[in-house]
């Protein structure tokens, strides 16, 4: 009987606990409700934003590349500014006009058109190619080893870069004061600035800083190449890369990879990480047409030298080269196969005994190389909602 007296209450507690057991259902919020209501009238920003901090796959982090820490609020604000046409003189152009997400943030024009349909000077650079921007771009973080921006490397930081795009008469044609006024008149910016900077004050520096944060946050590491490289290389990048075929690649892609590693990687990077060379001349013309880096440094050795672009998402970013002269990858490959010109600054990688080194690829080799270049496409980037147009 006594034992029962002990057991019964025990049992009672058990039952009570089971009955009281409540399901976890947490409420997560990011914006204050009144802010979110206001923002949502104009923008589709998720109530809980996605993480803008990219993580590098192992084959890149093993090389010592690291992404820069991203300020979430500034990146979100930057995303809105990036897509906002109010930031241009005639209200028709935003950064995204020339940097389209579905084209890996390039455009499909030979030279980009800005406000009032003014033609620019050069082909838009695919922001989805340069990426891992944050891993190695910008002299603010990486000093003299940081890669500068633009085909001619004329801007040192993402912030310098975007101010120059906004004020460029051929792009958005705004003054600093225009920028501030344009932003101030849009009601959704007050809460976004407040969240990003602690108060709602709007200055052109803040606009630029936020856009830079967004651009630096763009990351695309989900290509077939990345998956295979991470899988088969692990941390042992240098010892395996040249010789190991990727198990997930087709034979053509693997053959193309070898051609690439032997002929292109010394400039464009074996891992699609940081390009080994910041600038080069790849023999597009025998004489200087566009001075390129030389226009900035005034050095005769830099004439017709251009940024060595990363080839990530290259299949999406036609036309090619700084002037968009090649419409297809076939034309690009033909250039390296038979069209390299003897410019005085032609880079040594493309020279043999002082004459241009044409690869003379067979038809099979050309199509293999192109098959490989297609493995560099990151399909997720095209629709990644972190980088998409937030306007309703």
């Amino acid at each position: 009987m006594k034992k029962l007296r002990i057991l019964l209450p025990l049992f009672g507690v058990l039952l009570l606990a089971a009955a009281c057991n409540r399901d976890a259902d947490f409420n997560y919020y990011y914006y204050e409700p009144e802010d979110y209501a206001l923002i949502s009238q104009y923008l589709n920003l998720p109530d809980r934003p996605d993480n803008y901090q990219s993580e590098l796959p192992k084959h890149l982090s093993a090389m010592g590349l690291a992404t820069r820490p991203v300020d979430q609020d500034k990146a979100i604000l930057g995303r809105v500014l990036f897509y906002d046409k109010h930031l241009s003189k005639d209200g028709t152009v935003s950064c995204a006009s020339c940097h389209r997400q579905e084209l890996a943030f390039a455009d499909d024009k030979q030279v980009s058109t800005g406000v009032f349909n003014r033609a620019g000077d050069r082909n838009s650079i695919a922001l989805g190619s340069v990426l891992s921007f944050s891993a190695y771009y910008g002299t603010d973080l990486f000093g003299s080893s940081g890669i500068p921006f633009f085909w001619d490397n004329r801007a040192n930081t993402a912030s310098d870069q975007n101010i120059s795009s906004m004020t460029n008469p051929k792009e958005m044609d705004m003054t600093h004061a225009d920028i501030v006024t344009a932003v101030q008149t849009q009601p959704y910016y007050e809460p976004l600035f407040r969240m990003a900077f602690g108060n709602g004050q709007i200055t052109s520096e803040r606009v630029s800083e936020a856009i830079a944060e967004f651009v630096n946050a763009i990351g695309s590491f989900n290509s077939k190449f990345d998956h295979e490289a991470e899988k088969s290389l692990g941390y042992n990048v240098y010892s395996n890369l040249e010789f190991n075929s990727f198990s997930g690649f087709t034979d053509a892609e693997n053959r193309g990879k070898l051609i690439y590693l032997n002929n292109c990687a010394s400039c464009h990077s074996p891992t699609q990480g940081r390009p080994p060379k910041i600038k080069a001349n790849n023999g597009l013309d025998a004489a200087t047409v566009d001075v390129g880096v030389g226009g900035i440094t005034n050095s005769s050795y830099d004439m017709a030298m251009f940024k060595v672009p990363l080839l990530r998402n290259i299949a999406l970013t036609a036309p090619y080269m700084h002037d968009g002269r090649f419409a297809t990858l076939e034309e690009v490959v033909e250039h390296y196969s038979s069209g390299v010109q003897a410019h005085q600054n032609l880079s040594p990688e493309l020279l043999v005994n002082g004459t241009p080194r044409n690869l003379n690829l067979s038809a099979q080799e050309k199509s293999d190389l192109i098959a490989f270049l297609h493995t560099l496409t990151d399909e997720q980037l095209k629709t990644d909602q972190r980088y998409s147009d937030p306007f309703k």
Binding site: D23, A24, F26, Y28, N51, Q53, P69, Q72, F197, G198
Partner: protein, 270 residues
Amino acid sequence: MKHLSFPAFGLLLSTMLTIGCTANRFYTPNTMQLPVLQESGQGSIRGGLSIDGDNTGWEGQAIYSPVRHLGIMASHFGVRYSGTNYNAFFSPFPVNEEFSYTGSSHLTEGGLGGYYGVGPEKEYLLSLFTGFGQGATQNRYTTHPEPQIEEVYNSEWRYQRWFIQPAMTMQYKRLQVGTGLRFAWVSYFDGDINSRVGFQETERIELLETGSPLFLTEMAWSIGWRIRPLVLSLNSTAVVRGKNSLRDLNLASNYVSLTVGLNLHELKRK
């Protein structure tokens, strides 16, 4: 037990103190009550403190035996913690922002169970208790994105805990030692989380939410000094992490407290 010399005792004491644990934002085990009951009418109350770096914990506990072999217990536990973090990668804030956090958690529990004394003077006591309690945790994160600007975000939730604890204690002259296991199921509910506390933090909180109820195995040790009617004890309660995923939750692994107990029956006898 005669072999346990006082130097050895001191050694034990000091190791227990040094493994005391760090600030924690999600869960801290309270000091396990290890029943020392021999017959009906016996009971004790005790209060405890734990001060360890950025943590301050306090608790009040009571145990009483209304009927021989049957005991009831109650306890309240509170802990406050604070800290700063500078490192971008472990910070809940995404940029190299320095942030500081403060938080508190409390838990009130009741339990009941049985005890059984063995040995010539019933100096060994075996017991099995079960209990249930409810508590809440509040975390507040402060950051200064610019020197003159302060931003504060909160995450808070309530939780329930249900436990079963087998324990054994022993009394020898002025010494009172005990050990026990506590199997605890911790259920979280009513969470209200500002996800601006950062991804790392939010992801951990989500883990807490999806993992709920968490099953934890805890282990306790206690060494006490009897100065009738008082008992001065050093106690350690540690979470023995079972599942790997719990590691990401950053649960406090160990809680060390100093308690002063008053044996009510010894008071009466005087």
